[in-house]
């Protein structure tokens, strides 16, 4: 016996070591790829790309408030100067004109390549005459000084037109030279990071940079009252992470204290408490290692977060074992008594979770593998490692005292049989007939972002005139220039829709960097020097402009006729360049261009116009609907595989129990518990999220064990009362451990806590009422 245990412990240690090595080499994927199907549609791929690395994901809005405008403006300017020197930021904008010189210079020098007005005929005599007459009007207008400054070089006003286009677009008000909210209470900044929005480590560094720049700038300004506000996907993901961590930590500590207190009271031995945790701990480690092995060393955050929950059943194994032990019943014998049932219970759970292995979502497949590997490891540790470490002669006194009482109590609950059946039927009816959706597939059902943070986000976005980007036109092309050319065609198709009111506006990278072809076409539209001079002369006749005033114009046009087309490098270091970069991105098969659309009212018209303008290369994307659809698909998969798992479980039980009656006695309580739990949760907290579903999976795993143990015939009669006691203890631990999470305000913790806590309790009650057949009870009593 000793030798065998020694061998088991050795194997266990080697496995642990191996797993530790594998796990230490694994990387954790914290982005949403785990929620992406293995073969994503183009739209889903774009969605993931956008959420991970898009313009939207790398945006941080900053507000500075709490002091008077001059102080806030000084802090804003100082922060901007500081942050612009930091490598983490792709751009830092606060509305200051300083830093725009390069852009102005670029617009000025390349105005004839960049201006969309440059088409054939733009410099004809009649067009020039109209332009000069416009100029005359402008000289009498408030814009006269600027017109005067540019008139000689640019009588057709290309530069002013471009400048208007670049700066006139929905920017917030300026005060003291920097962006301010319209009520003047907040200075505003827009930051774009290099790091991906979901790269928690990098974004955390980014946020602390901003914080540090603010502190330094505030001190410099002499303000003590100014406060820093930040929002954006990165801020959200970090806040979310912190909130979950904080809540998870707090509630876990309470749960651990409660459960440990309960187990200590039962075991009266710290050593037993620690030994009892080994199966679960081993299971978690083996689970992660198995996933890392099977998925090329990449473990999704989802797996790490929910895997240990799913194998929560592993914590029960030790309770089942220890409760059986008496002075005359050492661990090995106790184990032999429960092993047949435990084995069936583990296989049942493995079948249930194993179905997830076939999921098309890597995240779900990982959860399935984690659970299967983890539970098998946990039960093997319980079977082969634990018994040798339990002190000989250990007896759980509490079990001896409580077992008969609990057995009687549980058996008496059978009088509730009809009440429970009626209640379950009512709950089933409610679920079937209930109006409204059972599932909440909206992303916000998953988002633990507190209401307050969400409101701040809305406020800053409103201040910035930067509504949450929900709609995009996404162009796919073979190369960068084609992406620009397609963007131009898409933009052309969108322009009449803006006029028609189908949307308010759009932004296209081609506005900042036109395609090669377009630039060439504009260059070709510039007339030769003789023709231009003659046309201009006739156009200006009778107008009061000084003679020879437009010589610089003639020279500039001639220069432009020989000017090379702009490329990405020419835009380097300008804000236009940054804008272009943020809207153009390479991917494995080419390039994508993204055109953010605002104020969309007629999605169908836009989608149709895009499809017609760039057939096969333009996708109209509703980020929100795509992500909702994606999560709905994810949830449906869990549902399907969970149902598949149930069928497998039923078949397996039929094979093992060889009695339809007994199969029903195991499955019915489980089904009743699920129905009742679902109904209660729906009434109490509204539609379900994925987290509720994950909770229900655990309820199946735990509850099937209860039902199996209650199915009396699988147990020797003399152990029955202790088995039932062990179920109550395990159940108490589960209900305490998870129930406490239900008090968390974080949706994920609350959902799992409430579901598992309630579900486990109802599973035990249903098993007690429905599973314990009269024969079993009578057999037990007769014995």
């Amino acid at each position: 016996m000793r030798a065998r245990h020694l061998l088991a412990v050795s194997v266990w240690l080697v496995v642990l070591l191996g797993c530790a090595i594998i796990v230490s080499r694994a990387t954790v994927a914290v982005d949403i790829t785990g929620f992406l199907p293995r073969d994503p549609t183009p739209a889903q791929r774009l969605l993931a790309e956008q959420l991970r690395n898009g313009v939207v994901a790398r945006l941080i809005l900053v507000g500075i408030e709490g002091d008077d405008a001059p102080h806030l403006a000084r802090i804003s300017a100082d922060m901007t100067a500081r942050l612009r020197t930091q490598p983490e930021f792709a751009s830092v904008d606060n509305g200051q004109l300083a830093g725009l010189e390069k852009d102005r210079d670029l617009l000025w020098r390349s105005r004839y390549l960049l201006s969309p007005a440059v088409v054939p005929g733009h410099f004809s005599e009649s067009a020039l005459r109209a332009a000069l007459q416009d100029d005359l009007q402008l000289l009498g207008s408030p814009a006269s000084q600027m017109v005067e400054r540019t008139l000689a070089n640019d009588p057709t006003g290309e530069f002013l037109r471009l400048l208007e286009g670049m700066t006139g677009r929905g920017h917030p008000d300026l005060q003291e030279g920097v962006w301010f909210s319209s009520d003047g209470s907040r200075a505003l900044m827009v930051l774009q990071t290099h790091a991906q929005g979901y790269d928690g480590v990098a974004q955390r560094a980014v946020l602390s940079r901003i914080q540090a720049a603010f502190s330094a700038a505030r001190q410099e300004s002499g303000s003590t009252a100014a406060r820093l506000l930040m929002t954006g996907p990165a801020v959200f993901s970090i806040e979310t992470h912190d909130i979950i961590e904080h809540d998870a930590m707090r509630y876990s500590l309470i749960a651990i204290a409660l459960v440990a207190g309960l187990l200590l009271a039962l075991y009266r031995s710290p050593r037993m408490l620690i030994i009892g945790l080994l199966p679960l701990a081993t299971g978690a480690l083996v689970g992660v290692a198995a996933v890392a092995l099977a998925f090329d060393g990449v473990v999704h955050g989802v797996t790490l977060g929910f895997g240990p929950t799913l194998i929560g059943e592993g914590a029960d194994y030790a309770i089942y074992l220890f409760t059986q032990m008496t002075v005359r019943m050492p661990a090995e014998d106790a184990l032999k008594r429960i092993w047949p049932t435990l084995r069936v219970g583990v296989v049942t759970s493995v079948l249930g979770f194993g179905a997830l292995l076939w999921s098309g979502f890597p995240g779900l497949a990982q959860l399935g593998l984690f659970s299967v590997a983890g539970l098998l490891a946990a039960v093997l540790v319980t079977r082969y490692v634990l018994p040798g470490w339990v002190p000989r002669g250990y007896a759980m006194d509490a079990a001896g005292v409580l077992a008969p009482v609990l057995e009687t109590a549980l058996d008496r609950m059978r009088v509730l049989r009809w009440v429970l059946i009626a209640g379950t039927a009512a709950a089933a009816g409610f679920l079937a007939l209930r109006p409204g959706a059972v599932w909440n597939d909206g992303l916000e059902s998953l988002s633990p972002v507190p209401e307050q943070a969400r409101r701040l986000d809305q406020r800053l976005r409103a201040d910035m005139g930067a509504p949450d980007v929900r709609y995009l036109a996404v162009i796919s092309a073979a190369d960068r220039d084609e992406a620009l050319a397609f963007s131009e065609r898409a933009a052309e198709a969108l322009a009449p829709l803006v006029a028609g009111g189908a949307l308010q506006g759009y932004e296209s990278p081609s506005e900042y960097l036109p395609s090669l072809q377009t630039q060439m076409a504009r260059r070709a539209a510039l007339p030769g020097p003789e023709m231009l001079r003659a046309g201009l002369h006739r156009a200006a006749s009778g107008l009061p402009f000084q003679d020879g005033l437009f010589e610089p114009f003639l020279k500039d046009v001639e220069t432009a006729r020989g000017q090379p087309a702009l490329d990405a490098a020419a835009l380097h270091g300008t804000r236009l360049g940054l804008k272009t970069e943020s809207l153009l991105m390479p991917h494995e098969a080419g390039w994508n261009a993204v055109l953010p659309l605002s104020g969309v009212t007629d999605a169908a018209a836009i989608a149709a116009a895009l499809a017609a303008a760039v057939p096969g290369h333009a996708v109209f994307m509703d980020l929100r609907r795509e992500s909702d659809d994606l999560f709905a698909a994810y949830r449906r998969e869990i549902e399907h595989y969970a149902l598949g798992g149930m069928v497998l479980i039923a078949l397996f039980l039929a094979a093992v129990l060889r009695s339809a009656r007994r199969v029903a006695r195991v499955l019915l309580p489980l089904a009743a518990a699920l129905v009742l739990t679902s109904a209660v949760l729906l009434i109490m907290s509204g539609p379900f999220s994925i987290f509720h579903l994950i909770g229900l999976l655990l309820v199946v795993a735990v509850g099937s064990n209860y039902a199996l143990f209650f199915d009396g015939q699988s147990l020797a009669a003399e152990g029955r009362s202790r088995v039932l006691a062990s179920l109550v203890f395990a159940n108490l631990a589960t209900v305490m451990g998870f129930g406490i999470l239900a008090f968390s305000k974080v949706p994920v913790l609350h959902a799992i806590g409430a579901t598992v806590g309630l579900g486990a309790l109802l599973s035990l009650v249903c098993s007690a009422v429905l599973a314990a057949g009269p024969t079993a009870a009578m057999t037990a009593r007769a014995a």
Binding site: S141, S144, E148, Q175
Partner: protein, 200 residues
């Protein structure tokens, strides 16, 4: 920058004609001076006028003429509508300036405080409207020539940025009525605006 000068002019114009002619000066004002003038200018709550403006610009061979209407409502609402040669509208409302050109369907809005140099000028003009000589003096060197019947106010910007846009504003008036505003730019461009108040 461009806008600033015009706003300043607009305000100057408003200041210029806002004093009601009806408010006849006292018969014997032994010490008529800047404070008295400012007080009179600040007294008006609402008024309308027509203007004709002639601009001498170095890009033009001949001066360009513009005309239209002005209206003012205390304390800080000013409107300049150019009717000839083409219609254009500019409104100053508190801190906001709106410029509209219906023919081009253009509309631009900006906040004066966004441009400190312009802001300084406007603040100066606003304080003129309010009869606040102390504030006005912070932004301009103010010089008053002539007498109550025919006076000339010369405003020279103190701030160097403001001086880069405008060298001097000369406001001519009689009693509390202002008849013309002349502004001179550093590059020699200048404009003269004659103002005729509309009698209600």
């Amino acid at each position: 920058m461009i806008i600033g000068r015009n706003v300043a002019l607009l305000l100057a114009a408003a200041c210029a004609w806002s004093a009601p002619a009806a408010a006849a000066p006292p018969d014997t004002a032994p010490a008529w001076g800047l404070p008295e003038l400012m007080q009179a200018l600040a007294g008006v709550k609402e008024s309308k006028a027509v203007f004709s403006e002639r601009k001498y610009l170095h890009v033009l061979r001949a001066p360009a003429d513009f005309s239209g209407t002005l209206s003012y409502t205390a304390p800080d609402h000013l409107e300049k509508i150019t009717l000839r040669p083409s219609r254009e509208r500019m409104v100053l409302d508190g801190d906001m300036v709106v410029m509209e050109n219906e023919a081009r369907s253009q509309r631009r809005t900006l906040k004066l405080s966004a441009y400190p140099a312009i802001g300084a000028m406007v603040e100066g003009m606003r304080s003129t409207l309010a009869g606040d000589l102390a504030t006005l003096s912070r932004f301009y060197t103010v010089q008053l020539n002539g007498d109550e019947e025919a006076w000339r106010l010369v405003l020279s910007p103190v701030d160097s940025q403001a001086r880069a846009m405008i060298s001097e504003i000369r406001i001519k008036g009689s009693g509390s009525r202002i008849v013309s505003i002349e502004s001179i730019e550093p590059d020699g461009d200048r404009s003269v605006m004659d103002i005729t108040e509309e009698r209600p």
